[in-house]
Symmetry: C2
Subunit: 199 residues, 2 copies
Amino acid sequence: MTASLLEQLIDALRVLPGVGHKSAQRMAYHLLERQRDGGRRLAATLEAAMERVGHCRRCRDFSEAEVCAICASPARDIHLLCVVETPADRLAIEQATGYRGLYFVLQGRLSPLDGIGPAELGLDLLAQRLQEGEVRELIVATNPTVEGEATAHYLAQLARARGVRPSRLAHGVPLGGELEYVDRGTLSHAFGSRSEMQE
Amino acid sequence: MTASLLEQLIDALRVLPGVGHKSAQRMAYHLLERQRDGGRRLAATLEAAMERVGHCRRCRDFSEAEVCAICASPARDIHLLCVVETPADRLAIEQATGYRGLYFVLQGRLSPLDGIGPAELGLDLLAQRLQEGEVRELIVATNPTVEGEATAHYLAQLARARGVRPSRLAHGVPLGGELEYVDRGTLSHAFGSRSEMQE
């Protein structure tokens, strides 16, 4: 009814995940009322990112350059390769752990029903890399879901066939968690995988 | 560590209300992975809106044109003027009610401690408009907060001094609400303002 540009903005904001009509409206009003400069900066950055952020040729993570900063770094251990499903998983591991090896980002998981097979995940690229002989351990860090487990199984076979040792993140009760609130599957797994306490 | 443009995007997204680092990260990844076109459209619309959306000369609501669509419409009743605090309030009334009069958007409320007085709310413009003699009823739809009530009181005096009848939205128990969950102030007000039931 009023400014059509305002309506267009509200509509365009709904492309963001978790943002419905009401939130988009609040965002548009907020920017127009109090954050014009921030809004302009967001517009410019967004345009640049959509145009220029591509994928690293080595690890398939997001990167402006042809090879990303981690893959290009001489300080990383080239004998360790950690496979994750998404760039967000890569970031989580990088921020939480002291891991200094390299990564490979699948940008998905094996899901035959959705038409996602080895080719879509760049597994030919990964196989070729394992063939080169530099990688000694393939750390499989896919999610503990049905599809993630299937992907992990596939990756382990891929590694073993090329003489690379596959490993998997430990599963069990989260630190600081209470047994009462841990889901059954995790608790059952943790119970079965119990280890002897050292003195 | 990786793409600095990605980090810039995550940072720029935090200008949106209610969006922290984690949400901004999720939004950036979502756009890059699945919504490049939507992201581009958002960038373009955002830039255009930040540059071109100004305020209506008549009612102070957001508008691309000098006079907004509602103020310019010959179908609206020029004898009714509804005063609201924000454009979002105006939109809420427009969407929920069958009101066909005009609006005046304060873009705030009287708040002496924050340096917001009559001048900041365009009340000189409103006084001049009431002086013109077209408006017969001033519908005061400020929020039922302490500052909103003070603003309403000021507006009512402004109207009466110019022979315009001020009115106020009804306050009471919301439709569909349960008395048990209504706050004390509202319930007390609703009880005191009870009206006789008609046969």
